[in-house]
Each structure stands twice: as structure tokens, then as C-alpha cells.
Amino acid sequence: MDITRLQFFAHLTAWVPAILLVWDYLTGGLTADPVQTVTQRTGRAAIFFLVLSLSCTPLNILTGYKGTIRIRRALGLYSFMYAALHMIVFFVLDYRLDFSLIFLENFNKLYLWLGFCSFLLLSALAITSYPWWMRLLGKAWKILHRSVYIVGLLTVLHHLFARKGNLISLQGDIGAPLVYGVIVVILLVLRTPIIKRWWIQKRLKLKLPREFPGLILRYLDKPLF
């Protein structure tokens, strides 16, 4: 098998939130309001793996390490998996597919429209993430998949407005979405061509010490078996 240890860890981690959900379901640990709890937990897993997937390329730029590129797509697909669960819980468990009620209750809620747009775009990326589509779309594929940053920003806003608080006065339960927001902005900055070129030149000149992280990276890149 040519699966590396890093890939193995990535897949393993990605199943942790799902396993915990199943475990809590079986042991009655889903709180008094399971619908809200599962919505929040799947949402958090979705944004977590989305931002991990988003950071793969910038990490590669920062360090020159190529291993992250190999897990980028899988992380994105796991994010999509949790986002899909998140959405299904909302439509099926919470609203029982009562579409008129869903609309009446929610058409005026900005954060849901943001989440919805984010989900549509993420679905498009998930569907076209296969090599076959890459070949078909050529250059357009690259452009399309850069829109993952838009997904990132939409999701951060969705997360932020889903929390009790106020961005302007910086008050309320908004710590986590703010952290994600800062990370996404930093990742975006790292990908701007000027910064990227400047840093890569600098990195090559600096001849960063390879030994300590190098050991870890060599460990991660070893095949699992």
C-alpha cells in the first residue's frame, strides 16, 4: 500500500467526530436537545476540516513540505461529508422536510443563506474533485477550486452569525468563529502571488534547518505498511 502515515492519520482524525457522535447517540450523550447538539457538532467538524484542507497549500508554500498536498482533497471531502450531515439534520430531523415552515421561519436569517451558499459551492467542489473532472475542466478547474476560499469566508460568517454575540462590539460567544476568521485571512494572504513569491525566495535563501522538522516529515511520509 502506498498510503503514507500522514494520510492514515488524516483519515483517522476525520472519523473521530463521526465516531463520537455515534457513541454519544448510543450512550445517551447527545444532551437534552439532540437536534441542536448534532447540528452544532457536525457544523464544527465541517468548518474544522474545511480550514485544515484550506491550509494544505499555504503550509506547502510556507515549509516546502509536499505531504500536505496529498491529504488536501480528502480533508475537503470530509468537510463536505460533515456539512452534508449538518444540512440533513437541519432539513430532516429539525424541520421534518416541512419546506413551507423552513422558508417561513428562516427566509429572513442571513446566516442561513450564507451557510446555504457555502454548502452549494462546497458541493460543486466536492463533485468536481475527481481527476476525471480535473482533466475535463483543465485550467477552469484550478480557478473553480480556488473558490474554496470563498467557501471558507462564507462559512466563517455563517459560524459567526450563528453564535450569540455582536461582531461590532466584539461581544458574545464569538471566540471560535473569530479564530477561524483570522486563520482563513492569514491563509488567503499567504496565497497572494506577491507574498507567495517573496516568501519562497526568502525560504530558499534562508536554507531553513531541515533536521528537526525534517525527521518528523520523513516519518510522516513513510508508507504505512
Partner: protein, 314 residues
């Protein structure tokens, strides 16, 4: 006015929740403060007409109100002084010291007072009140509180004529309440009511639930319960009650004034930017049920808002 039940049962007589639940039939027969509520939502003519279309028929069948379990009431708590995580409040509040505890009642009153919690408990006989609790987040419970009407304590201190509002302040002790260390909030927690709302006999100070002492996570030793308003209006662990002339600033209203108004009456006609307000999830049930105007207490408290536009004064 709804029929009042005074069940003066010593807590020692109520041994367990199971025992308690067996009295449920009796409670139902008494009508409680729950009865007839389903009918009230739609037919109040003193309020501006509903602008939104009504719900589809599948969602308008109110099923009976049943008591939420003690387990759920005491393990699912919005109590930001401890943590925003509703499931962790119970463990974080485990060692909260509820005695000694003083409640200062002052401001625009003729007889300022500081009462120890034991004075409060001995002075004001507790009665049982079964109320719906509707959280602004879109879930609800039915809780058998033990407590006494707030107006009893207010009569003791004799409010001045100039007193128009009442302000409640929660304990501000970061050593005991870890959530208070978060700089994201305007601590201490404070809430407010208009004086007539505070004097209304549905408004109680609770010191117990399910016939037992009030658990720390539910706001021990003394909390407010205003059943026709969203849950956050009912301040917990109260240390100060002040009568004031002007509408006092309140916790969530300070954080996000466009989302949480001073009144914060349960109102299915006022949409919230985040949470659903036309329907709610009743804890322990599946699916959604319609949210009732003034949480089903319109008959009792609707007159407080005669002539007021409750969509503007949300």
C-alpha cells in the same frame, strides 16, 4: 386570571421524581398556568395583526404540555456566568456556595433591606408554579418551580412612586463562576422589568424545582422566573434588586440591541436574526410545536401591553 395552585408540600414529603410524577394527574386537573394556552395565540385583537402568513396545518397541532424531566432541566442550562456550553454548567456549578447569601433590595424604596437567603426562605412561603420556559434559541421546557411572587418582597420594601423599573443583578464572583473571566461580555449579568411586569402575580422568585432545593445550575439560591418572556430575562443567582426610574441596561440587550430587546416577550410574530421564533423544539419531544404568543400567558399578562406595539418594542 389563571387558576393558582398552592401546593404547600414540604420538600421532605416529596421523595423522588417518580413520586413527583405520580402527582402529575393532579397537577393537570388543577389547570396550572398552562391550560387553554393554545387558543390564546391567534385571537388577541389588541395587538397589531400578524404580518406573516400562518403556519401550515401540520405544525399547528399543539400536543399536551408535559413536565420536562428533572434530568433534562438540570443538565441543559444556559448560564454564561459558568460557561456558554449548556451541558457543562451542572458540573462547573457543583461547588457553588449558596450560603451565606445576601440579597440587597434598594434603590427607590422607602425601606431598603438586605435579606439573608434563610430569611427569604422562612419569610415567604413557597408554592409550586408549573410554567413553560421558552428559550430564545428555539427550545422550550415545562418546569415545576417552587417559589413566591416577586410582588411579596417588593411590598416589604415599599417602592416609591418614582420607581418605574426594576433591575436584577447576578453574583459577580469570577473565582466561583469561571465564565466571568471571559472579556467578551459586559459582566455582571443584569436584567430588568417594568414595575408592573414585576408586580404581576405570574412573576416569581424561585428557590426550588420539582419540590427540591433549586440546583446550582438552575440559579440557586434565588432566581427570577418570568414565564411569558424569553428565558434569559430570568436572571439567576440574584444578589441585588434595585428599583429605578429609568429603563435599566440589560445584559443581552447591551451585547446585541437589535437581537434582544428590553421586553423580550415571547412572540412568534417577531423574527430573530438567528433563532426560529414561530416554532420551538420542546425538550423531550420530537419535531416542532408552534410558539405561543406571550408563551401562552396572553390571557394573564396581555393587558400589560395594551396599546403597545410589541413588534417595535420587542
Amino acid at each position: 386570571m389563571g387558576e393558582k395552585i398552592k401546593t404547600m408540600i414540604a420538600s421532605s414529603e416529596i421523595t423522588s421524581e417518580t413520586n413527583y410524577l405520580s402527582r402529575r394527574d393532579f397537577i393537570k386537573a388543577a389547570g396550572l398556568f398552562l391550560g387553554g394556552a393554545g387558543l390564546l395565540a391567534a385571537c388577541d385583537t389588541t395587538f397589531p395583526p400578524v404580518s406573516e402568513p400562518s403556519l401550515s396545518p401540520t405544525t399547528t397541532l399543539p400536543s399536551q404540555d408535559r413536565l420536562t424531566t428533572y434530568e433534562d432541566i438540570t443538565n441543559f442550562n444556559n448560564y454564561y456566568e459558568f460557561t456558554p456550553d449548556k451541558t457543562r454548567v451542572a458540573s462547573l456549578a457543583k461547588d457553588f456556595r449558596v450560603s451565606p447569601w445576601n440579597i440587597e433590595i434598594g434603590g427607590l424604596v422607602h425601606k431598603q433591606k438586605t435579606l439573608g437567603i434563610e430569611d427569604v426562605l422562612s419569610k415567604f412561603p413557597r408554592e409550586e408554579r408549573v410554567y413553560r420556559l421558552r428559550c430564545v434559541e428555539g427550545w422550550s421546557m415545562v418546569i415545576p418551580w417552587m417559589g413566591f411572587e416577586l410582588n411579596q418582597i417588593l411590598k416589604e420594601v415599599e417602592p416609591m412612586l418614582s420607581a418605574k423599573y426594576i433591575k436584577f443583578t447576578t453574583l459577580n464572583d469570577p473565582e466561583q463562576m469561571p465564565g466571568l473571566n471571559s472579556g467578551f461580555y459586559p459582566w455582571p449579568y443584569s436584567e430588568g422589568l417594568r414595575l408592573d411586569e414585576a408586580m404581576h402575580n405570574l412573576t416569581i422568585l424561585a428557590t426550588g424545582l420539582y419540590g427540591k432545593e433549586l440546583p446550582n445550575q438552575n440559579g440557586a439560591p434565588l432566581r427570577l422566573v418570568v414565564p411569558w418572556k424569553y428565558g434569559f430575562k430570568s436572571a439567576k443567582a440574584i444578589v441585588k434588586i434595585e428599583l429605578v426610574a429609568e429603563q435599566p441596561p440589560t445584559f443581552w440587550n447591551t451585547i446585541a440591541p437589535n437581537e434582544y430587546g428590553f421586553y423580550s416577550n415571547v412572540n412568534p410574530n417577531v423574527p430573530h436574526p438567528r433563532w426560529p421564533q414561530m416554532t420551538e423544539r420542546r425538550i423531550g419531544e420530537t419535531g416542532r410545536r408552534p410558539t405561543l404568543f406571550l408563551n401562552g400567558y396572553a390571557e394573564e399578562v396581555g393587558h400589560l401591553y395594551d396599546g403597545m406595539n410589541l413588534v417595535e418594542n420587542y
